[in-house]
C-alpha cells in the first residue's frame, strides 16, 4: 500500500515538475501530489489558468521597481536600488518608512497638482526549456511568453498613510490584481510602530519581489517549498491577508516585522482568521570603517501557519519554518560584491499529507552572489538546495523530492532615468528534483530566459 502511495506521489511530482514553472508550489496551483495528474479537458484549462496566474504573480513580484517614486522625488532608480530591483540600504529605509522620504514632499499636497501616484510597466520575454527525466530529454520547447501591462499605484498620500495596489492586464486578456494594502505610518509618533492592513508580503531575507530573476527562475521554491504530497498550499513567498506591525530605527539598521494573517487560498474559509498564521523577522545591519568588508546584515525569521484538513476543513494542522540569514557587502559601499547566505528548516504536521506515517521535515539553504561592476550592469548567481530530512511516507527514498538549483544571469538597463527604465536580462538556470520519476530517476529542467521590460 505504501509503495502504491509512493508511486502515486512520485507520478504527481514528476507531472508537476514537468508541467511548468512553479506548478508544484504555486498557491493557486493544481491538485497537490496524491491526486491523479491526468485531468479532463476542463480541468486542464483550469490548471493552465492557475499556472498562468501563479506565473503572473511571480513576475509581478519580481518586477516591483517603481518609476513613480523616481518621478515623485526626482531621483534615479539607482538611488534606492543597488541595481533594479534589489534595494540598497537607502531604498530599504524608504520602503520601511512607507515609501516616504520624510522631507516634507511625501504628502500629495506638496506635489504638483498634476502628479498622480500611478506607474506602468510592460514586459515581454522569451524562454527556452529543456526537460529531462532520468537523463533522457523528454521535451524541448522555446516560446515567446505573453506580455503584460501593469498599471499600479503605490506610495504615500500623506505623512500618515501609504498604500499599494497593482492590477495587471495580460496580453491575452487575462487580468488579476496583486495583493494590496493600506499602512498607517508612525503610530504613536514612532518609527517603531507602523501598522499595515491588507495582503502583506513577508519581510524575507531574499525577497521574490526584489531579487534578480528570483521568481521567474523558480527560486521562489525555497519559500514556497511543499513537502511531497502535502495538501497545504501555503507559501511565504506570496502576500497573505492580515495585519503587519513593523518598526525600525533611523536608517533601518535595526528592524522587526510581525505578520498575523490567515493562510491565503485555504479551502472553506469560514472567517477572517480561520487558518491563522504568524510570521516574524528581526534584522541588524552593521557597517565597518576599514577593510574589504563593508557591511553585514544578520537576520532571523520564523513562521507558523495552520492549514485546514478533514471532511469539513475544520481541523487545523500546523507548518513551521525557521531560518537565519547573513548578507555581506564587500569591496565597495556603492557597488559592492554582495554575498547572501540563508538557511531554513521546516516541519509539517503529518495530517497535511493524506498518506503520511510521520511528520515530514526538511532543510533548505541558499547562497547568492551578485556584483555590480558599473551601473547599470549586474552579474548574479544563486545556488539553492532543499533536503527532505524526514519523509512523510516512511517507505519513500530518503532523497525523494530533494531539489537542487543553480542560476547565473546578467542584467543591464539600456535606459535608466528618473522618468523611465528599459531593462534587458539573460538568465540560465537548472533545477533538479530527485528520485521523483519512475524507477527513482531524477527530473531536471534547464531554462534559458531572455526578458525585457519597460517602466515609466
Amino acid at each position: 500500500m505504501t509503495t502504491a502511495r509512493g508511486i502515486l506521489a512520485r507520478s504527481a511530482l514528476v507531472a508537476a515538475a514537468l508541467a511548468g514553472p512553479g506548478v508544484a508550489n504555486a498557491d493557486t496551483g493544481p491538485a497537490p501530489a496524491g491526486h491523479a495528474y491526468v485531468l479532463p479537458t476542463a480541468g486542464r484549462e483550469t490548471a493552465e489558468r492557475r499556472r498562468m496566474y501563479a506565473a503572473l504573480r511571480r513576475y509581478v513580484e519580481a518586477h516591483r521597481e517603481i518609476p513613480a517614486f523616481a518621478r515623485k522625488y526626482g531621483m534615479k532608480c539607482s538611488a534606492c536600488h543597488l541595481a533594479v530591483p534589489v534595494l540598497n540600504a537607502y531604498g530599504q529605509a524608504f520602503k520601511d518608512n512607507g515609501y516616504r522620504m520624510k522631507n516634507g514632499t511625501d504628502d500629495l499636497r506638496a506635489n504638483e497638482p498634476g502628479y498622480w501616484p500611478i506607474f506602468a510597466w510592460l514586459w515581454k520575454n522569451y524562454e527556452y526549456d529543456v526537460q529531462r527525466v532520468g537523463g533522457q530529454t523528454v521535451q524541448r520547447v522555446g516560446r515567446m511568453r505573453d506580455g503584460a501591462v501593469v498599471f499600479g499605484a503605490m506610495g504615500s498620500v500623506s505623512d500618515k498613510v501609504s498604500f499599494r495596489f497593482l492590477p495587471s492586464v495580460y496580453e491575452d486578456g487575462f487580468t488579476f490584481t496583486d495583493a494590496g494594502w493600506i499602512r498607517y505610518n508612525q503610530a504613536f509618533g514612532t518609527d517603531w510602530v507602523n501598522i499595515k492592513v491588507g495582503s502583506n508580503e513577508f519581510d524575507l531575507p531574499i525577497n521574490g519581489g526584489r531579487e534578480y530573476n528570483m521568481s521567474n527562475s523558480r527560486f521562489a521554491v525555497l519559500y514556497a517549498y511543499a513537502v511531497p504530497g502535502t495538501v497545504s498550499r501555503f507559501t511565504m513567498l506570496f502576500p497573505q491577508p492580515g495585519i503587519e506591525v513593523m518598526g525600525h530605527d533611523l536608517g533601518s539598521r535595526n528592524r522587526y516585522s510581525i505578520n498575523v494573517f490567515t493562510a491565503g487560498g485555504a479551502p472553506a474559509a469560514r472567517c477572517t482568521f480561520c487558518s491563522p498564521g504568524v510570521f516574524g523577522r528581526v534584522t541588524h545591519r552593521q557597517e565597518f570603517a576599514n577593510g574589504f568588508l563593508r557591511s553585514v546584515r544578520a537576520g532571523l525569521f520564523g513562521a507558523y501557519v495552520t492549514w485546514p484538513v478533514g471532511p469539513d476543513s475544520s481541523d487545523l494542522k500546523g507548518q513551521r519554518r525557521l531560518g537565519g540569514d547573513l548578507e555581506f557587502g564587500l569591496g565597495s559601499d556603492v557597488l559592492p560584491l554582495r554575498v547572501t547566505l540563508m538557511g531554513m528548516t521546516g516541519r509539517d504536521d503529518r495530517a497535511l499529507v493524506p498518506t503520511a506515517t510521520q511528520n515530514p521535515t526538511f532543510n533548505a539553504g541558499m547562497l547568492q552572489l551578485d556584483y555590480v561592476p558599473k551601473l547599470p550592469l549586474v552579474f548574479y548567481g544563486r545556488l539553492q538546495v532543499i533536503r527532505n530530512r524526514r519523509q512523510a511516507i516512511a517507505g519513500n527514498p530518503g532523497d525523494f523530492g530533494d531539489q537542487d538549483f543553480q542560476l547565473v544571469g546578467v542584467r543591464r538597463a539600456l535606459e535608466l532615468t528618473s522618468r523611465f527604465a528599459w531593462v534587458v536580462e539573460l538568465t540560465y538556470w537548472r533545477q533538479k528534483i530527485k528520485a521523483v520519476a519512475p524507477g527513482g530517476a531524477d527530473a531536471t529542467l534547464n531554462s534559458l530566459w531572455l526578458g525585457s521590460h519597460l517602466l515609466f
Binding site: 540600504a89 557597517e287 570603517a289 553585514v296
Partner: protein, 153 residues
C-alpha cells in the same frame, strides 16, 4: 543535510572572521574621505538634482524649488560657522543625514558614515575655496540664560 550544516558553519565562521577584521564605523564623520569613492556616492544619490558637474543643474533641478545647491561656488546656507566662512564637515554631514525639510533634499540617514564622509570629501574638491581656505570656526552658542527674575523683567 550534513552539507547544509557544513555550509551554515562555514558561513558563520566566515562572517565572524570578516567581522573581526573590521572595525565598526564611528558615529561622527570627520575629514579624510576618499574623493573617488565619494564620486560614486554622488553619482548614485546626488547627481539627479545637483548635476554631473555639481553645478546644481541636474536633470530634475528645473522642477525643484528651492534650487539644488551649486557646489562650485563653495557657498552654503546651513552652517555653524560665521557668515562667509566655509562650513565644517560636521555641518555638511548634518544636512546629508537629516535632509532639509520642505525642500527636495531628503535625509540620507541610511548611508554609512563612510559613504557620507567620502561624498563630503568629493564635494570639497568641487570648489577652489576648499583648497584656499579651511572651514570657519563654529560659532559657540552659549547656554540658555537661567530664568531668573532679573532676566524676565
Amino acid at each position: 543535510m550534513s552539507a547544509i550544516r557544513r555550509t551554515v558553519v562555514v558561513a558563520a565562521l566566515t562572517g565572524g572572521a570578516l567581522a573581526l577584521g573590521a572595525a565598526p564605523l564611528p558615529a561622527q564623520t570627520g575629514g579624510g574621505g576618499d574623493p573617488g569613492r565619494g564620486r560614486q556616492v554622488y553619482e548614485r544619490y546626488c547627481v539627479q538634482c545637483h548635476g554631473d558637474r555639481a553645478d546644481g543643474a541636474g536633470e530634475v533641478a528645473r522642477w525643484s524649488q528651492p534650487k539644488p545647491r551649486d557646489f562650485r561656488g563653495g557657498v552654503y546656507k546651513f552652517s555653524s560657522t560665521p557668515y562667509g566662512f566655509l562650513p565644517t564637515p560636521a555641518d555638511l554631514d548634518r544636512v546629508i543625514q537629516n535632509g532639509l525639510y520642505g525642500t527636495r533634499m531628503p535625509p540620507f540617514a541610511a548611508l554609512s558614515t563612510r559613504e557620507r564622509r567620502d561624498v563630503i570629501t568629493y564635494l570639497q574638491t568641487r570648489s577652489p575655496r576648499w583648497r584656499a581656505e579651511g572651514p570657519g570656526k563654529p560659532i559657540a552658542i552659549p547656554a540658555e540664560p537661567a530664568p531668573t527674575r532679573v532676566a524676565v523683567t
